[in-house]
């Protein structure tokens, strides 16, 4: 065996060329899509873990879902161990020094509520104060100083009311609540009892009741999907989307094929048809919607025409809340006008890929024009029709601007419009994502369906 002296090299350049594209895809396509998918089925504030002790390092005793009604059993101020955010309930504690009633100098922590500030620095920093009097009957008249800024810390000293103190240091503490689910929260573990910081809990009234404002742990949930399917516009939206597709696509494909055949016939001046047919491709869908809206309005072309030939006595209002069918018809017309040419272009290119000799052979062996269309052209156009079907179906699931322009999005609504409404009007990102994912799944399913139903690869790969 003789080994070659030069190693076989794989060409690297194609991979280098494709690398930016892959990065681009990952950054601007893969990532947002995955995020969108996650938004639809994942609630990142779904549950709040309750802790065994007031402190973020304590063990979790169990979780409660967002929105659970709570009974507050106790509260405790605690040093803030992470960043202060605006939704914290805080309590300031002072480290004070004073002479106790034995004339001993003592030092310890006391909550802000126990000290009346008597002296402040220019910037408002409290410097000195007096211990407040306890008003509650039967309470210990003395105020406790703790070794640390926590009521669970050791007792450092006790001061009489009105003792003068110097404020040495101030600490801001967050309130923690010991909570348990309210009795009417039947879907959660009633025996659960634990601590949670104030930032996640809304407390009402006198501080006895509250509810979980937001959780810290995410959870996969069908909640948004359910919210979408239970939405009263969901049914109309997907039914209308499908209805439009069923009305538009067959007409569109027949029209596009006829147009393509006209161009392919290469009669004199047929190239002008190609230009005429292509005009709508250059127009935005919203512009087309507005154009057709102007045709159908009270003093639009259609009304003027019908009045002119005497069919109507006065303007008919085609696009109003009680003329749903007219709106659908106008949308169908606009979509046919707008998107048939793209199908046609695909079919024309498919026709041009059929060798002339193949068609001549069919003609020579006695096939009439329509026989050639049926037995030769249409079968050989299957790959093109497949591409056009996938493209058009996906675009039909996304139909939006024409619907908005012609129907306003209330009487006739479609899936894309509901996505928009959820996201923009209702500010419900997760449900909007659920709609978007629904459209995506429908698109993928239809593409797979066409790839299976219009199978072409095996028989036409080599011709």
């Amino acid at each position: 065996m003789v080994a070659p002296t030069v190693k076989r090299r794989r060409p690297l350049t194609p991979y280098l060329l494709i690398a930016p594209a892959l990065l681009f895809l990952a950054a601007f396509f893969g990532y947002p899509m995955v995020q969108g998918l996650i938004l639809a089925v994942y609630d990142d504030e779904a549950v709040l873990p309750l802790l065994s002790d007031p402190g973020i390092e304590a063990d979790s005793v169990g979780t409660l879902p967002q929105g659970t009604g709570l009974t507050v059993l106790d509260q405790r101020a605690n040093l803030i161990e992470d960043e202060i955010t605006s939704d914290l309930l805080t309590e300031d504690w002072f480290r004070v020094s004073a002479l106790d009633n034995n004339d001993q100098t003592v030092e310890g922590w006391a909550p802000e509520t126990r000290i009346r500030i008597r002296e402040e620095a220019e910037d408002g920093t409290p410097l000195a104060g007096t211990v407040r009097t306890k008003l509650a009957a039967g309470a210990d008249p003395q105020t406790t100083l703790f070794a640390e800024a926590s009521e669970s810390a050791d007792v450092a000293a006790k001061l009489d009311a009105r003792t003068r103190v110097r404020i040495e240091e101030i600490a801001t503490l967050e309130l923690w609540f010991l909570v348990t689910p309210q009795a009417d929260e039947t879907e959660v573990d009633q025996s659960l009892e634990g601590w949670a910081p104030s930032r996640f809990i809304q407390v009402f009234g006198e501080g006895e009741n509250g509810r979980i404002d937001r959780g810290t742990d995410g959870e996969f949930t069908w909640r948004f999907v359910e919210k979408m399917t239970e939405d009263r516009f969901f049914g109309p939206a997907w039914r209308t989307t499908l209805l439009l597709m069923v009305l538009i696509l067959p007409i569109q494909f027949v029209l596009a094929t006829l147009m393509a055949l006209i161009i392919h016939a290469r009669l004199k001046a047929t190239s002008i048809f190609l230009y005429i047919y292509s005009i709508p491709m250059g127009m935005s869908d919203l512009a087309v919607g507005i154009l057709f809206f102007s045709l159908f309005t009270g003093n639009g072309f259609i009304n003027s025409f019908l009045e002119g030939i005497g069919v109507l006595d006065g303007p008919k209002s085609f696009l109003s809340a009680d003329t749903r069918n007219w709106i659908i018809a106008a949308i169908v017309l606009a979509e046919l006008w707008r998107a048939t040419s793209i199908v046609m272009v695909i079919i024309v290119s498919g026709l041009q890929a059929i060798p002339d000799e193949t068609l001549e052979a069919a003609e020579l062996f006695g096939a009439s024009y329509w026989q050639r269309v049926r037995h030769i052209m249409l079968p050989l156009l299957r790959p093109s029709i497949q591409v056009a079907l996938i493209l058009r179906t996906i675009l039909a699931f996304q139909v939006f601007a024409v619907v908005i322009a012609l129907g306003g999005g209330e009487v006739v609504t479609v899936l894309a419009n509901e996505t928009y409404r959820q996201y923009f009007t209702l500010r419900n990102t997760n449900v909007a994502s659920a709609y978007a994912v629904f459209i995506l799944l429908l698109s993928i399913a239809s593409a797979f369906f066409y790839l299976r139903a219009v199978r072409t690869q095996d028989e036409l790969s080599k011709t």
Partner: protein, 362 residues
């Protein structure tokens, strides 16, 4: 009975004549080859007969019926295309039976004739396959079978072998010849390959620039070309041409070239007489010259510049007064470049060409 008559057919592409005033009569069951270099109009003429590119002038009759402007499907013809034009989405069986189905032939009849055609081409076991996974040779057979299944009286073939490799072409050539003698159709066969033309055709029509130059039996076209073009196009190596002049008249008429003299045969000297005193061009085929290693009476002394041993012959290249001659010799004739040899031009093999018109005068 299907005699094809092409009368005064012309076809224009823009302002250019692709075919100009073509006149041909192809007898029933005859095998006519249209031969010519690419762009000579042979395919255009065939397509006019097929109805795929209607003639601009003239008339085409098949079996006495004027088909000039009939659509192809109504001409009762069949055709094999250069690219085979097999329908890629149909099985071989459907391909072969396509024409019959279009003509609403009964199903049993279609099956019978498809099987028959497939058998003729030895593709019975390919019938249920699709063309996409077949070789070029197999597709070619399908194309021929499809044409034969029609059992049309007229069969048109547009360079059917040109897409095959050399060995397959050789094999298919013989097979096609056998088939066509069996099916008894009047055949027009277009090719640019003179070997195909010579070996297959009953007659060959040589075309150039849209004009039919000569139409005759292969042997006649080969040995008695009507003009310089036919002589130079047919034959490998092509006919040699030597420029000279003619002098004298009657029995004294003699051609002179490069200091050598050659007297034509008695019949030809009459025809040459009108050129007397003017230029003439001698045409002679490589294998018709005698090469001698010794001087002999009437032999011209020349120097060999190239020797090409081709197995069955040795091909010599010889310069003769500015004319480059190809001379074939027996492979045993031993000669090296630079050697002197003596050439004898047998006058009965010499064709005399008028250099003005390039027509063979005798």
């Amino acid at each position: 009975m299907a005699e094809i008559r092409i009368e005064g057919v012309s076809k224009l592409f823009g302002d250019n004549y692709a075919v100009r005033d073509a006149n041909l009569t192809i007898r029933d069951q005859e095998f006519l080859v249209l031969l010519g270099p690419s762009g000579c109009g042979k395919t255009t003429l065939l397509r006019a007969v097929a109805g795929l590119g209607m003639a601009d002038a003239g008339q085409i009759l098949i079996d006495g019926r004027d088909v000039t402007y009939l659509p192809p499907g109504e001409r009762k013809i069949s055709m094999v295309f250069q690219s085979y034009a097999i329908f890629p989405h149909m099985t071989v069986r459907d391909n072969i039976g396509f024409g019959l189905r279009m003509n609403k032939t009964p199903k049993a009849e279609i099956t019978r004739r498809v099987d028959e055609a497939a058998e003729l081409l030895h593709i019975e076991d390919l019938l249920e396959r699709r063309p996409s996974d077949m070789s070029g040779g197999q597709r070619q057979r399908v194309a021929v079978a499809r044409a034969l299944a029609m059992q049309a009286q007229v069969l048109l073939m547009d360079e059917p072998l040109s897409n095959l490799d050399a060995l397959l072409r050789l094999e298919m050539r013989a097979e096609l010849k056998r088939l066509l003698s069996e099916v008894q159709a009047t055949t027009i066969y277009v090719t640019h390959d003179q070997i195909e033309a010579l070996s297959m055709g009953d007659r060959i029509a040589v075309m150039r620039d849209g004009v039919i130059q000569q139409c005759d039996q292969p042997s006649t076209v080969y040995s008695e070309p009507a003009n310089q073009f036919v002589g130079s196009f047919i034959g490998n190596p092509p006919m040699n041409f030597i420029d000279g002049t003619v002098h004298g008249s009657g029995g004294d008429l003699v051609a002179e070239f490069d200091g050598n003299r050659l007297a034509p045969t008695a019949e030809t000297s009459q025809a040459l007489e009108r050129l007397s005193g003017a230029a003439v061009r001698l045409g002679i085929r490589a294998e018709n010259m005698q090469t001698l290693s010794e001087p002999a009476d009437g032999a011209i002394e020349v120097t060999v510049s190239v020797v090409e041993p081709l197995g069955s012959q040795n091909l010599l290249t010889i310069d003769l007064g500015g004319n480059r001659l190809k001379v074939s010799t027996h492979p045993t004739f031993s000669v090296s470049p630079g050697d002197r040899v003596w050439l004898r031009l047998p006058e009965n093999h010499v064709r005399w060409i008028d250099p003005e018109t390039e027509l063979v005068v005798a």
